[in-house]
């Protein structure tokens, strides 16, 4: 088997059966023409080294075979921006779901290993990547007659009225708010979703004197979750949203400050008294810091509200 036969065979291996014989037949004719021309130029018969040089010039068999086939991409340029956006959203979704799973397991007092959590996050992220890529591969390789485009129905009127960077709500902020409030709501209402056995084995419980706080706190957390979902859909600040945000943060500040005044927040059933008191001290400081943060976010929303009003008046 000479070099040309080996080359043609390697090219043929990469081609679909339908056009294989025709393409390789023509390729062989072209190579022989090239060698014939070389023979005429040099005045001697082409050697194996000449054949090798001609084949190298022609290109790697895989490269040559690919040039005869229609170009194929996993995700084409039209769909790529949407694909990238879906991957980012997907990654955040995976992270939130796993984080909540971890939170629920922690609250239930399950045995948790960091390596298992990291492994679950990596597996879920890879699965999400494969699924999203598969969907976009299918969309990118639809027949031209399908005429599906991600930008088919857009209108300039639908673009967000955003002039300044601060008017955009960052995805990570929204996701962070969504995940933390969902976890907070689950922690507040743990008696609703935990089994009686798990409840009986819990090492800590909320101080019964704080029961009247649970409903307003849960309503506040549920509102914050809905609000973050709204921000996910419309990721820019408007006057009504800033009003709502300032009210939500101010109420959050009042609730955190009010709770911080309670002497005992959690009752520890297993640990010794001094350690339990220490945990409560830490929680008090967490609540005080949270109240300060909510106050800062309230003031920031009011400041942005003023700026938005100025922009609207211009």
């Amino acid at each position: 088997m000479n070099l040309i036969d080996r080359y043609i065979s390697a090219v043929a291996q990469q081609l679909p059966a339908s056009g294989r014989d025709d393409i390789t037949r023509e390729l062989r004719a072209n190579i022989l023409d090239r060698l014939e021309s070389l023979t005429a130029e040099q005045g001697r018969a082409a050697t194996t080294a000449d054949e090798s040089a001609v084949l190298r010039e022609l290109g790697h068999p895989q490269q040559v075979a690919a040039s005869f086939l229609p170009p194929q991409t996993l995700v084409n340029a039209t769909w790529f921006p949407v694909f990238k956006q879906c991957l980012i959203y997907g990654l955040f979704a995976v992270f939130v779901v796993q984080l909540i799973g971890f939170g629920v397991a922690t609250l239930s007092g399950s045995d948790i290993r960091i390596t298992a959590i990291v492994s679950r996050i990596i597996h879920a992220a890879l699965l999400m990547f494969a699924l999203v890529t598969g969907v976009f591969y299918a969309l990118s390789n639809l027949p031209a007659t399908a005429k599906i485009s991600p930008y088919g129905n857009w209108k300039p009127e639908q673009l967000p009225p955003v002039q300044h960077q601060w008017q955009r709500i960052k995805l990570e902020d929204t996701v962070n708010e969504f995940a933390s409030n969902l976890f907070f709501l689950l922690a507040l209402q743990y008696s609703l979703w935990m089994s009686a056995d798990t409840l009986a084995q819990l090492p800590v419980s909320i101080n019964p004197t704080l029961q009247p706080w649970l409903l307003p706190l849960s309503v506040w957390a549920a509102f914050a979750i809905v609000f973050s979902l709204w921000n996910l859909r419309h990721n820019y600040w408007t006057q009504p949203k800033l009003w709502l945000s300032s009210a939500q943060n101010f109420i959050g500040c009042l609730l955190a400050a009010g709770l911080a005044r309670a002497e005992i927040l959690l009752i520890n059933h297993r640990l010794p008294g001094p350690i339990s008191a220490h945990i409560n001290d830490i929680l008090h400081w967490v609540l005080i810091v949270s109240a300060c943060l909510f106050l800062y976010w309230t003031l920031r929303s009011i400041y942005w509200l003023k700026l938005t009003t100025k922009i609207t008046e211009q």
Binding site: I23, E26, A29, N30, D33, R34, S37, S67
Partner: protein
């Protein structure tokens, strides 16, 4: 501008007119290698890895007719403009001349 940038832009510029050059050359029948030689002689250097798939694509689109012929003891596939290819070449030639004249005016400024 670096040599690399110039080379990239030059390739982009040439890529668009290669189809026109190939169609224009195939008013007469040619096999792959003879077409490449004809283009080279006309000052259009195109590598085989680009030319041969391009001819096949044009043939698949019905712009070229092809036929296997025996010559010099070997078989070769000859290509020539099809009637559709002829019509398209006339339109493309008009387009090219108009574009060329318009760009020439811009470059004179």
């Amino acid at each position: 501008m670096s040599e690399e940038q110039l080379d990239k832009l030059r390739q982009e510029l040439r890529r668009g007119v290669l189809v026109l050059a190939v169609l224009g050359s195939l008013k007469q029948p040619h096999y792959g290698y003879s077409l490449r030689k004809q283009l080279q002689d006309a000052g259009i250097d195109i590598d085989e890895g680009t030319l041969y798939p391009l001819i096949r694509r044009l043939a698949d689109q019905g712009l070229l007719d092809s036929e296997w012929q025996q010559g010099d003891g070997r078989e070769r596939r000859y290509y020539q403009l099809s009637p559709i290819g002829n019509t398209l070449l006339a339109s493309l030639t008009g387009e090219w001349q108009s574009l060329n004249s318009n760009i020439a005016k811009l470059l004179e400024v």
